[in-house]
């Protein structure tokens, strides 16, 4: 009845806004401070505002939750709320009229012990560790240059793009074989495990990168699945894991031969820079060349040393031989007929010289004897000779005295000469009138002049 009354005699209806307002007042005053526990899901952080929205749920119900940026900054949380986290939230109910929704406005949030996921993780980690899957001895070294790299990730993910560009930048020419898989959600783990096994069967890859880009714990969860961890451990080809960011650690990381913080880092770990390898090779060949050069230098020096030693040795030997030969030759020469002859001859010569010397001495002594004798003889004969000559000279002188022309002058003769007495005139014809002459008489001479040209010839008195 009452309901009918309401229908037929209705009061003024409320507007949606009025109703929502009433609900808002009722709810917000009724749940000023609530404490609620549940599991986070559908968590998202809106980029522009920085507000965090998520749903708290249990088996039967869910409620929207908002964590304003300012509150979050103020709380300075020790953990990063993520999907699957079991949390306890304290806050108030807030009605968002625009959308007609009510939500918990977080004043405080904390982890409600380890989530189920984390518990499972811990359990699996313990189990696999006991089996030895994470042992360091199992880890293999990576090839210097993997000419073919297998990649297990999603073809459309940022991870593949990063891996590919990094490899191509560092070492153009590396063959990348992608085995594209789902990296999150239902069935991802199985696909990843299969892909690893397929790349092993295919066999071309020298190293495998398994991974994906960053995400929530739930999104990365496939890499914590037992099947994936075992596939990594069983791989014959070395595996580098590259899941999420630096802060994310998965069981895959522990089983892998090498863990890379990010997909880009994985590519950097696996592939060297081509230039570096070229440089290394250059330095190797350079070193080989230098060593060879050094080797040759030392060897040639040794050869020089040896040859020098050899030469001096040979020279010495030759000198020694020569000397020996020379002395032998000399002895032989001494014995030769010529030498002997000349020796004898020399001896003979010396004997001869000796003898002639002696002879000379003897002769000289004889000669001087003889000479003294003959000298006395000679003196004697010379004296007689001289006396004889003296007598003869005296005779001559007396005769000369007789024929002295001055004697004739004494007898009255005259001698007519030229004034210089050089010419003696003997014939009248020689006298020329006017000539100056000299006339010598017995007591002296006097200058005269020829006078008159008449010649009076006179017959010889004695004829």
């Amino acid at each position: 009845m009452k309901a009918v009354e309401v229908l037929f005699n209705p009061p003024e209806p409320l507007t949606v806004s009025e109703l929502t307002s009433r609900i808002k007042v009722e709810l917000e005053s009724g749940f000023k401070s609530v404490l609620v526990a549940g599991e986070i899901s559908n968590l998202r952080v809106v980029q522009n505002s920085g507000h965090t929205y998520f749903t708290l749920k249990d088996e039967k119900a869910q409620i929207k939750v908002v964590l304003w940026k300012r509150r979050r900054d103020y709380l300075n949380l020790k953990f990063k709320p993520s999907d699957g986290d079991q949390v306890i939230v304290r806050g108030s109910i807030n009605v968002y009229q625009v959308q007609g929704v009510y939500q918990v406005n977080v004043e405080y949030i904390e982890q409600a012990g380890l989530g189920a996921l984390l518990a499972a993780y811990k359990e699996l980690e313990k189990k696999l560790a006991t089996e030895g899957l994470f042992e360091l001895e199992r880890k293999r070294s990576l090839p210097l240059i993997p000419w073919t790299v297998g990649v297990v990730t999603s073809q459309d993910g940022a991870a593949f793009r990063d891996i590919r560009s990094t490899i191509e930048r560092r070492f153009p020419g590396i063959h990348i074989i992608l085995r594209s898989v789902k990296v999150q959600g239902e069935g991802a783990g199985l696909q990843i495990a299969e892909a690893i096994s397929d790349l092993n069967k295919h066999g071309n890859s020298e190293v495998i990168i398994a991974g994906r880009g960053g995400g929530s714990i739930e999104e990365l969860w496939a890499f914590n699945e037992e099947i994936v961890v075992r596939a990594i451990a069983n791989s014959k080809i070395p595996i580098v894991s590259a899941v999420g960011h630096e802060t994310d650690f998965t069981l895959s990381d522990q089983a892998a031969d090498k863990r890379a913080a990010t997909p880009t880092a994985a590519a950097e770990i696996i592939v060297p820079k081509k230039d570096d390898i070229h440089k290394q090779l250059d330095s190797h060949s350079d070193q080989i060349w230098k060593r060879m050069l050094y080797f040759i230098e030392t060897k040639s020096q040794t050869v020089d040393d040896i040859s020098e030693k050899l030469q001096s040795l040979i020279k010495e030997k030759i000198k020694f031989r020569k000397e020996k030969l020379f002395s032998t030759k000399r002895t032989i020469d001494m014995q030769s007929p010529e030498k002997r002859l000349s020796y004898k001859r020399g001896k003979l010569d010396r004997a001869y010289e000796d003898m002639s010397l002696r002879l000379k001495i003897i002769l000289n002594s004889k000669k001087t004897q003889h000479m003294t004798v003959s000298a006395s003889l000679l003196t004697k004969s010379l004296e007689t000779y001289l006396n004889k000559q003296k007598n003869c000279l005296n005779n001559q002188l007396s005769r000369l005295k007789v024929i002295n022309p001055t004697k004739i002058l004494e007898r009255g003769y005259a001698i007519v000469t030229s004034t210089d007495e050089r010419k003696v005139y003997k014939f009248v014809g020689e006298l020329i009138p006017g000539n100056d002459l000299k006339i010598r008489l017995q007591d002296g001479s006097r200058a005269v002049t020829v006078k008159g040209d008449k010649i009076m010839k006179q017959d010889n008195l004695f004829n």
Binding site: L144, G173, D198, L281, F295
Partner: protein, 87 residues
């Protein structure tokens, strides 16, 4: 595209580089015979040039491994255009 034989395995690059390091060490030994050292030198030079060639001959290639029927594999080239991925 069919899988090609593992041509890279033949003159394994790593082993070649290791051998190069060995050669350097051996050449450090002064007691070596000349002929032996010349042989080592020649081997070293051959190895380096072969390694350099290996580096330069490598062809850029990106392919996708697809599983065929009966467990056989095939690789197909991936287009080089860079599609921007969401993350």
């Amino acid at each position: 595209m069919a899988d090609k034989g593992n041509k890279n395995k033949e003159p394994n690059f790593e082993i070649s580089v290791e051998r190069l390091e060995e050669i350097i060490k051996e050449l450090d030994n002064g007691d070596l015979e000349l002929e032996k050292s010349i042989k080592l030198y020649e081997e070293g030079m051959k190895l380096t040039s072969r390694c350099q060639k290996m580096l330069d001959d490598a062809e850029k290639k990106v392919s996708k491994l697809a599983k065929g029927k009966g467990g056989s594999f095939a690789t197909e080239s991936i287009e080089t255009e860079d599609s921007e991925a969401p993350f």
